[in-house]
Symmetry: C2
Subunit: 183 residues, 2 copies
Amino acid sequence: MTETRKLLMDAAEANIRQKGYNAVSFRELADDLGIKSASVHYHFRKKEDLGLALITRYSERFFQTLAQNTFEAATAREKLTGFCETYRQALVSSDSICLCGMLGAESCGLPEAMTTKVAGFFTANIAWLENAFPSHWPSADKQSRAGQVVATLQGAMMLATSTGNPLWFRQTATHLIEDVMGP
Amino acid sequence: MTETRKLLMDAAEANIRQKGYNAVSFRELADDLGIKSASVHYHFRKKEDLGLALITRYSERFFQTLAQNTFEAATAREKLTGFCETYRQALVSSDSICLCGMLGAESCGLPEAMTTKVAGFFTANIAWLENAFPSHWPSADKQSRAGQVVATLQGAMMLATSTGNPLWFRQTATHLIEDVMGP
DNA sequence: GTCTATAAGATGATAGAC
DNA sequence: GTCTATCATCTTATAGAC
């Protein structure tokens, strides 16, 4: 992958995660890199192409980091802690919410292909958690608990950034782990 | 309040809650009502004025509905259930997320006055919950649990709408009440 | 790969007629 | 209150030169 393409995606991801998909323009991204908007169109023919590439890269990165964070996790509790930690890193490293959390909120106003990909990110999150939970749990419980975890962490990122208080995330994640796994 | 002004706010709220603040234009709202965009500017001089009016009205409505839903609530559990039910109604009646959840996600890209008002909605939510929880709880617990509740419900709305599956909200809310209040 | 130039349309906003 | 007319600006996107 080209260096410029990478820098464009970095700038786009950062901006979208802070302001939303519709608040980011090719001109703005071009200015960030010191090039012209026509050059951005060389790397991404349409804005939707950029959006799709961002979701793909974000998702791959997320599951890579998740794998690293749970490499030594033996118990379900350790796996869930690693999952929460992966979300926390995404929040802290960029001081902004999850890319798919933002796009999920804007879902109805996005190109359909993007909507589908974002939903795929969430179902993959849920599937990972279902697999991480103790195998003796009823599968209905594993599913509903997985949804609860994703929902809680996504909401906690939003609450933490919009109020400017990262404590809301940390406290919520701590409660969540205890609530789901027991004391 | 004028009828047109009310209809404009209805259209704006519905559209923003589905697509986000930056995806909604005065022209679009005007078309919805069969008037011209210049007429929209008569009712709301700037877009920001419309945004602020929407947050105010949404917040007032929310706390009115919340009061109705918890009018007969005697226990903390019943109050929390009424709180979750108020969120559920907002989701089901419009098939879209909370206005402040959307604006909270887009927070960094909004006029500062809007950002402040949105944060105020969340802190008011949290304050209501802190007051609803059993008085014998340590205040740090009341605060962190209140944040957890708001974060969870906001995230659950986003997850439910973006995946098109309202079950994620219902299951999550059910777990949440049990987790916070005990079995 | 990046540029200039350009198109076609959207957007927030205003002035002034009715 | 609503309209027409208009504005400057922004947006996505393309064609073709370098």
